[in-house]
């Protein structure tokens, strides 16, 4: 019987009632007394020297209250990179300052170099146009193509960085010679060059920020679209503006999707705070959709050459990659971690491959900054591996299912240390593969293919067996790897006097469903109704110092912190019960919401204990404190390693090149599942994004650095009719061995595992249709590209 409450129940998402009825409160929904409106002035050229900005006319226009340019922030700090990487030769990465507003140069179309604040939005808009017209910006040649950027020392995104290279990283450099030797000795080597297409995150809610300053106390408040308010506060206070941390409150209210793009601190947040301080009035800014396209951190954008050495039977002996990773014009906060430690460390996949070496050069270009986007580095790794294995199968005429089975790690091999520095704690990759084969009815494929052929369609099947590292992350490990922050999380569990509970969590929900799932865990552990538990998140004044939500970490890390805090509540409850029941603390047991004296029928309910904690009329105060509230910080011992097998079937229309995804089967191991319905939803969303990347999403800059896909007229988001009904399973669970809930994380899985399954299916369809000259098509596998490939 499926449970209807607590851990493992498919409790309906309580937050959806407000989201779906338009009662959510997002940053832009707030209207504050005396508020002024900010409009950013953004570069229309990709690369230019700021000769002069005459602000006088704009400043004198009706309603204009203040004008800011890069000059105003010249003395303040820059927005830092959160992760320090060393090049292969031991040199530190190049870290150009990322100013609040561009100063000296503009470095991408959409780079903000000034801001106008006015009484109304329309007035600010008018003045911003006048200011833009008055700015003299000498256009410089744009640096767009990564290969050209690295080869040309004369044209520089940052004047102090001669070759536009941020770093040249080798992982693991000491293994390089051994990998080269293994590759040389391999009976067969497969080579594939591929592009992992750049994506615009396109959260439904554009970024927005409201700055407030309270002259009476000197306090600041920032309401902003953030996935991690504490991190944003830390960056603003410690690095950018020098505001004491205790004087800035950062609130992230309802946030309409992030997918990574709202992890980072952006200059607009500093500008609205500075403007609020100057004017003594709230100052608000909301991005227009065009601004989102131009200035949100983009995702992916790798160009990779991958080589795979193997036996003729398909045993993988060595993998070697060379990647150019675009970081755009500035280093966004996680931009240096994404192509390195979130990518190179996954390059062994779920396979027993003895030799792996990864080289990544990150390149500055005159494009929007690139950073973590759902999956962050792991989709890039998975795509490279799963595509090259597919190519190997084709070159050696091997069955892709059998080849996976031959190479997958087996359950007896855990814990398993990979050649790229991770220790996989547990898994059963054969089980998920078998499950996918069963649910995807691989046996019936041939009949389906024949049926498609009757309709003139080429049907193909693609497989991907993927793994990722999430539950980000053990601070000790990431510290060794260059992280400048810790990646623990925190929770405070406050039992109210009447027995209801408020959980203050460091995680931030921007669509994931924390407000539903976290109470399920609390309810299960304390034996109380889910409806008695409320989750408080997103406000630095209310929650303990946590690190927010990304990297499929909320449940594995913040959920574990909450679990620990609940254990502390139970321990304290036992103390209180021992006092009330006049028994020894060691004799108290807690089960089903009751504290009992073992072996007797003496018991107190959870509610009675809670009430007593706040009405401590007869407490022995030397040994028992009043109150029932506990905080725990949890730092994981390892990453978690969700894994799974995805099978995609497509139909290709050979006359038009159109690809239809006709079925998609996902068999995943997420460890223990707290709410199956929400997990399923996360997989649906992730796979939808993966299909979007594989089939239609494309971010294209022309050679002058103009974004050709700067609106939904040209940037193709996947829509409901682009995706099939999914078959999703997570029954093959191997619980995580090192966190208390045994959970692994499911937020990014779909986006990580699906793109190669889709592309493998397209290539398979073409081959089965006799079009064997096509060995690869870069994503997005659009109709135009497929048709060109067929006819090329």
């Amino acid at each position: 019987m499926p449970k209807d409450t607590g851990i493992g129940a498919s409790t309906k998402r309580r937050e959806d009632i407000r989201f779906l009825t338009g009662k959510g409160v997002y940053t832009d929904d707030l209207s504050l007394f005396g508020q002024a409106h900010a409009v950013m002035v953004r570069s229309t050229v990709a690369h230019g020297r700021i000769v002069s900005i005459d602000t006088s006319e704009a400043a004198g226009m009706p309603g204009v209250l203040a004008v800011f340019t890069g000059e105003d922030f010249k003395e303040v700090g820059g927005n830092p990179a959160g992760w320090f990487i060393k090049s292969r030769n031991g040199e530190p990465m190049r870290e150009p300052k990322r100013p609040v507003l561009a100063h000296g140069k503009v470095r991408h179309v959409g780079d903000a170099y000034a801001c106008v604040v006015a009484e109304t939005y329309a007035q600010a808009k008018d003045a911003a146009q006048v200011l833009a017209d008055a700015a003299v910006i000498e256009e410089l040649p744009a640096i767009i193509d990564m290969k050209a950027a690295a080869a040309d020392a004369s044209n520089r995104v940052h004047d102090e960085i001669p070759d536009n290279i941020c770093f040249d990283w080798g992982w693991i450099e000491d293994n390089r010679a051994a990998v080269d030797a293994a590759m040389k000795a391999a009976p067969h080597v497969v080579t594939l060059e591929l592009t992992n297409n750049r994506l615009v995150p396109n959260a439904m809610e554009p970024r927005a920020s409201i700055g407030e300053y309270f002259p009476g106390t000197g306090d600041y408040k920032l309401t902003t679209t953030s996935q991690n308010p504490h991190l944003t506060r830390l960056l603003i206070c410690a690095f950018v503006m020098g505001i004491p941390e205790n004087k800035l409150q950062v609130v992230a209210p309802d946030v309409g999707g992030g997918f990574g793009s709202k992890i980072y601190h952006y200059g607009e947040e500093a500008v609205v705070l500075a403007a609020a301080r100057k004017l003594g009035r709230p100052v608000r800014w909301t991005a227009e959709r065009t601004e989102s396209f131009l200035s949100d951190a983009h995702g992916r954008d790798h160009v990779t050459k991958i080589e795979l050495g193997c036996t003729k039977e398909g045993d993988i002996l060595a993998i070697r990659t060379e990647t150019l990773a675009n970081v755009g014009a500035y280093l966004s906060n996680f931009s240096t971690a994404t192509p390195t430690f979130l990518h190179g460390t996954l390059m062994a996949g779920p396979y027993k491959v003895p030799h792996v070496y990864v080289n990544v050069k990150t390149i500055f270009t005159n494009t929007a900054p690139v950073d973590a986007y759902r999956g962050a580095g792991r989709p890039e790794a998975t795509y490279s591996i799963e595509r090259v294995i597919d190519k190997m199968c084709r070159e050696l005429n091997l069955d892709p299912f059998e080849v996976r089975r031959r190479n997958l790690l087996t359950p007896d091999q855990f814990p398993y240390t990979t050649p790229v520095g991770l220790v996989y704690d547990t898994g059963n990759y054969q089980a998920t593969l078998d499950k996918a084969i069963e649910l995807g009815d691989v046996a019936g494929f041939e009949a389906r293919r024949a049926e498609s052929a009757k309709r003139g369609k080429l049907r193909g099947m693609g497989l991907s067996t993927w793994i990722e590292a999430c539950g980000i992350a053990p601070s000790h490990l990431v510290g060794v790897l260059g992280s400048r922050v810790g990646l623990y999380d925190a929770a405070t569990v406050r039992v109210n006097a009447t027995g209801t509970i408020s959980v203050m969590t460091g995680a931030h929900s921007h669509g994931q469903g924390h407000e539903t799932v976290f109470p399920q865990i609390v309810a299960e552990k304390l034996g109380i109704p889910e409806s008695s538990v409320e989750i408080v998140h997103g406000d630095t004044a209310k929650i303990p110092f946590g690190m927010g939500s990304y990297g499929s970490r909320s449940l594995a890390v913040a959920g574990s912190a909450m679990d620990r805090a609940i254990d502390k509540i139970i321990a304290k409850g036992k103390k209180i019960a021992a006092h009330m029941l006049e028994a020894a603390e060691g004799d108290i047991t807690f089960a089903d919401g009751k504290f009992s004296v073992a072996g007797t029928d003496k018991a107190k309910s959870f509610g009675e204990i809670a009430f007593s904690a706040y009405v401590p009329h007869n407490y022995p105060l030397e040994t028992l404190e009043p109150g029932l509230e506990e905080t725990a910080f949890y730092d994981p011992g390892n990453f978690t390693y969700p894994a799974g097998a995805y099978i995609c079937e497509v139909e290709v229309d050979p006359d038009t090149g159109k690809v239809d995804v006709v079925s998609f089967t996902a068999a995943d191991d997420f460890g223990n599942v707290m709410n199956p319905m929400i997990v399923e939803g996360q997989v649906h969303g992730g796979v939808g994004q993966g299909i979007g990347q594989a089939l239609c999403e494309n971010t294209s800059y022309d050679e002058n650095g103009q974004l050709l896909t700067g609106s939904f007229m040209d940037y193709a988001m996947p829509r409901a009719d682009d995706v099939p009904f999914y078959t999703v399973d997570h029954s093959c669970a191997t619980p995580c061995t090192h966190n208390p809930l045994g959970v692994k994380g499911c937020g990014e899985a779909g986006a990580i595992g699906s793109p190669p399954a889709v592309v493998n299916a397209v290539i398979d369809a073409l081959h089965r249709g006799g079009i064997t000259h096509v060995t690869h098509i870069d994503m997005p596998v659009s109709p135009n590209r497929v048709w060109q490939a067929i006819n090329g």
Partner: protein, 262 residues
């Protein structure tokens, strides 16, 4: 968006008067004009809404075929033209999304003459007549290249009259992002011959593929055009499709339209 005056006449005569004002521009469904104004790419002084003019609303059979008021939304055409001219109704029902179909109008669409819009192909393939505030214009004379029509300053479309073919179909291949026509082909078979109009493909806007018309007039089957080739020279080439790809689509979709024609 800049400030503007807004007037909403209830007769064609009043609209003519209102549109003679300096800086006046017709507003129909606003699905193209309003976004353009929001982006500050257009800043008319006076918007003259045509949607309150009852003479310009609705679908009915009359002299010369099916009359569609220029301010009739796509959703109404999709519903009310279905009995009379199913291919045209299906075209209207495939434009944009429900919000667009409930606001956007045939008059706005053919006045704008977006090279990727659907309606121009139906108007041209049907040999329809565009009735304006001043005159009647044959479809062949009306479309004059991308975003260009025979309309003069101050002149506006009041209705479109569609002769009804024996059989017809519109086949649209969606541009993956906008879902306008990457290429769309409207084939209409009349007693005296076949007309084939192509949208989305050419740098010169909607056009008639006369070789296919000749072949199909002789033999109305997909096979009849098998031997024809479409030159890629004048085709649009962009992110979503090369010129050669569009040329291919013209032929593929024409064949499919012939097969689908009812």
């Amino acid at each position: 968006m800049h400030n503007f005056e807004f007037v909403k006449p209830s007769t064609i005569a009043d609209a003519i008067k209102a549109l003679s004002a300096e800086g006046a521009q017709p507003l129909s469904g606003g699905q193209t004009l309003l976004p353009t104004m929001k982006q500050r790419l257009a800043a008319p002084d006076v918007l003259v809404s045509l949607t309150g003019i009852s003479e310009m609303q609705g679908v009915c059979m009359g002299d010369g075929g099916l009359h569609i008021g220029a301010a009739t939304p796509h959703a109404v055409v999709a519903r009310d033209a279905a009995r009379h001219y199913p291919a045209l109704a299906a075209l209207a029902g495939g434009i944009g999304d429900p919000a667009v179909r409930n606001r956007g109008t045939i008059g706005g669409s053919i006045a704008n003459n977006d090279p990727a819009a659907c309606y121009p192909s139906a108007v041209l393939a049907s040999g329809a007549t565009v009735v304006t505030s001043q005159r009647r214009i044959a479809a062949d004379d009306y479309f004059q290249g991308m975003f260009t029509t025979a309309l003069e300053e101050g002149e506006f479309v009041t209705e479109v009259v569609f002769p009804i073919p024996e059989r017809a179909a519109y086949v649209k291949f969606n541009q993956p992002a906008s879902r306008f026509a990457l290429t769309g082909v409207f084939v209409a078979k009349f007693a005296d011959g076949v007309r084939v109009a192509v949208t989305g493909a050419s740098n010169n806007g909607v056009f008639r593929w006369t070789e296919a018309e000749d072949a199909l007039s002789a033999d109305f089957s997909a096979g009849a055009i098998a031997g024809l080739t479409v030159a890629a020279d004048d085709m649009i080439s962009d992110l979503h499709g090369s010129a050669a790809y569009r040329a291919n689509l013209v032929k593929v979709l024409t064949g499919r339209a012939v097969t689908a024609a009812r």
